[in-house]
């Protein structure tokens, strides 16, 4: 298909989105990422039954925490796609990149002069 999506995105593969923890989502912002989104299988289609539903709850928890600490909960999102939706994957990547670009850089980067916790 040779689809293009923004090169600002770094894909991190996990066996199932059920593996994604709140702590993983918070760490990316602590390290200076501007945004993050979790791409899980369509709801009801999880091979492990509820991995993607758990991921959604964790994303929501991360959103609440990011809002509370002033980073902005909107910077983390949950998206559900099937493995056959390549074009939609690329489209979502563009949409989310644009949305995060509108929000501006991670406020922590400005405050810490680009030096983020390792």
């Amino acid at each position: 298909m040779r689809l293009h999506y923004p090169d600002a995105i770094r894909v991190i593969r996990v066996p199932c989105t059920g593996k994604v923890d709140v702590l993983h989502l918070l760490r990316v912002f602590e390290k200076g990422a501007d945004g993050a989104y979790v791409v899980g299988c369509l709801e009801g289609d999880c091979r492990f039954e509820n991995g993607n539903l758990r991921a959604r709850k964790r994303v929501e928890q991360a959103q609440r925490i990011l809002d509370a600490v002033g980073i902005g909960g909107e910077r983390v999102q949950m998206v559900n796609l099937s493995s056959g939706e390549g074009p939609r994957f690329a489209r979502v990547a563009v949409e989310i990149t644009e949305k995060i670009r509108e929000m501006g850089p991670n406020p922590l980067k400005k405050k810490t002069g680009g030096k983020m916790a390792a």
Binding site: D21, E30, I65, G70, L108, K111
Partner: protein, 222 residues
């Protein structure tokens, strides 16, 4: 176990805003099981605090530790060598752990990160409910293993009040009437005659009303 829930992050930030070196201390026991103050919650809270203070442009050192227990000397001693490195400790243990740490490290502020709620069970993941009030004189043998002290709003000892309706308590339609549960179980066990036995007036002096309690056992003392 002792059941607690984490304080709102805004309240925690308000408590910590004047400190520059903070240790977030979890506990591996009850608060880990009720997902309020274990290693994972310590990690999440510490990360959130680092981001908050970083966003405020304030350089604050936030370290993490999770002790096996905070209600025993031996585990609290593990942080003695580096407690002086911190301006404050945010303990995610129950109120017992917070106090014991405060007693031990007298000059360091020890602040509570959770609200300690009750002694209870995990009904299902994410649902905890009260089962014991530590009254000091257990009557479960008379009440089919169901405690009317902790599960009846009025702590009645001889049957339900007039407010129970269809097996539910009058204070909350979702709350089972403890005495309904007791009668049901006595019936199931074929011991309904126990229900006819009048319970004597309870001696409440062993309960919290008698003041702070203490147990001294010479047989196990060193």
């Amino acid at each position: 176990m002792i059941v607690a829930e984490q304080k709102p992050i805004e309240e925690i930030i308000e408590m910590l805003k004047d400190f520059d070196r903070i240790l977030v201390a979890g506990c591996n026991e009850c608060v880990t099981v009720c997902e309020a103050g274990g290693k994972k919650e310590v990690g999440i809270l510490a990360s959130a605090l680092r981001m908050y203070f970083g966003n405020q442009g304030k350089k604050v050192r936030i370290d993490e530790v999770t002790l096996e227990r905070q209600c025993d000397h031996e585990y609290l001693e593990e942080i003695r060598s580096n407690i002086d490195q911190y301006d404050a400790v945010l303990s995610l243990a129950c109120g017992v752990g917070v106090q014991f740490m405060a007693e031990k490290y007298f000059s360091t502020p020890v602040l509570p990160g959770v609200n300690t709620c009750f002694m209870g069970v995990t009904e299902e993941r994410g649902v905890w409910s009260e089962r014991c009030q530590g009254c000091g004189q257990c009557i479960l043998g008379m009440t089919a293993g169901i405690c009317p002290i902790s599960r009846c709003a009025k702590r009645l000892l001889n049957g339900p009040c007039g407010g129970a309706t269809k097996g539910k308590s009058e204070i909350n339609k979702d709350l089972d009437c403890a005495w309904q549960l007791i009668v049901d179980r006595l019936k199931e066990m074929g011991k309904l005659d126990t229900y006819e036995t009048l319970m004597p007036i309870k001696d409440w002096s062993t309960e919290r009303a008698g003041g702070p309690r203490k147990i001294i056992r010479e047989d196990v003392r060193l």
